[in-house]
Amino acid sequence: MSTWRIARLVAVKDLRIEAHSRVLINQVLPFAGVTMVIFAFALDADSVLERVAPGLVWLATMFSLLVLVQRSFAVETDDGALDAMRVAGLDPKAIYLGKAAALSVELLILEVVLLLTAVILYRQTIPLDGVVLLVLTLLTATCGLAAVGTLYGGLASGFKGRETLLPLLTLPAVAPVLIGATRAVESALGTAGAVVSDGWPWVGLLAVFAVAFGVGGSLAFGPLIDE
């Protein structure tokens, strides 16, 4: 079987598990929603919230990313499924790409919900001329986040202390995504007078990040889990 076919199978498997267990719907989305509400408690002023809304959307996404990644690998390590896949001779590259793809789909759902929450709670508007930029930002940022999350999730899985190691490794690594995606979404939504054209260099950065970590991750995943 080709790498892509296996990757698709792994991704479908992950999404099917998710559809059955409903952890995203029942736990992660409410968690992200609560995060958005407590941000409002911390930044007690409407004008501040409106100004920093895009950043808060991405912060909530990063925190939820950690939860999703842990969930994604708990499924594998609980029954030794990851080892079983390796013993079955599946290409680690394919496992990596499949898991990253499934994570991307979950993240995209999460981001759309968080953006809608920002529209309602933080009084954001989505102008029509910013939609293309917004969609491209969501796609590139999601790929970058999924690439990093899957890589470090795979590394940390199966060790004691993985709950603390994962954020320590992941958060500095996704800092460029947080910066880039926040600025790009500010441009797309016109937050604090930002214009759409300012957003494109950031999408470029996000795309380079996603490709670099996608390639680096698919090469590094094998040696990291092959133990």
Partner: protein
């Protein structure tokens, strides 16, 4: 090196990890540090604008240069381990020791920089491109060191940390680029700027040079000792395992002796 050789080395070095070479290097480090103190605090002039605060530069700049050097060493040693044929743990220990020293040096740079910032800019911290990149660099290598402590066999540790060591090299330019785009108050590099000219008072430049030499010697001295300590740690762990195995074997043997014909029953 065989286990017996290693044990012989361990026996002969009961006094520590020092050898003749490291002792000479250590003395050279102390002398150059004394030179640095003399030039940095005494002979070099105070700055026109920054006055006495400029003396912090003689620690701030050499430590960050050496930190970059240590991370290059970590990356190269990680690459040699991962792609080389020998899979020698020596490269892994070199990478780990260098990253440990680099992390301490970056921390030193950040602390000295914060003090210098307070004196010249009036604040400890600014969200400037280089400061932010350096802070993220620090956290990235703290993460690398955490990965080294995950456990498992020595070869597992080596492979895992080599991959993370190389990924960090991928990450640093991306972080730098994103933060540069985000904002850029830190004074531009004075010595290594793009036009190649050096705009600095001669004695100040010389003091900085002394600082670089002193910290480089210090780095090499620390690196030699740290890799040796790591080799001893690995040896101790192997020995502990061997010992536990042989104890269990003896136990099994003595139980068999107590029930001589257990197989017949």
């Amino acid at each position: 090196m065989t286990t017996i050789d290693k044990e012989a080395t361990l026996q002969s070095n009961r006094s520590g990890t020092g050898t003749r070479a490291t002792r000479i290097l250590g003395i050279a480090t102390i002398i150059s540090m004394l030179w640095l103190v003399a030039f940095g605090l005494g002979f070099s002039p105070a700055d026109r604008d920054q006055e006495e605060a400029v003396r912090l530069m003689y620690v701030h700049v050499p430590t960050i240069w050496i930190a970059y050097l240590t991370f290059v060493v970590t990356a190269v040693a990680s690459g040699i381990y991962l792609f080389g044929r020998s899979k020698s743990l020596g490269w892994d220990r070199l990478a780990g020791a260098s990253a440990e020293i680099g992390t301490v040096f970056v921390a030193l740079t950040l602390v000295v920089g914060a003090l210098w910032g307070r004196l010249t800019w009036g604040v400890f911290w600014q969200w400037d491109a280089r400061l932010t990149t350096t802070a993220l660099l620090f956290v990235t290598y703290v993460g690398y060191l955490a990965v080294r402590r995950l456990g498992g066999s020595h070869q597992q540790r080596a492979r895992r940390s080599a991959v993370i060591g190389l990924l960090a090299v991928l990450l640093i330019p991306l972080v730098h680029w994103s933060v540069r785009l985000w904002r850029s108050l830190h004074q531009e590099a004075t010595v290594l700027d793009s036009d190649g000219d050096i705009d600095m008072d001669g004695l100040m430049l010389f003091s900085l040079f002394v600082g670089v030499v002193a910290f480089t010697l210090f780095y090499i001295w620390l690196l030699l000792h740290r890799t040796r300590v790591m080799a001893l740690e690995d040896l101790m762990e192997d020995r502990g395992l061997d010992q536990a195995l042989s104890e269990r074997r003896n136990e099994a043997a003595s139980m068999n002796a107590a029930v001589p014909n257990s197989e017949e029953i």
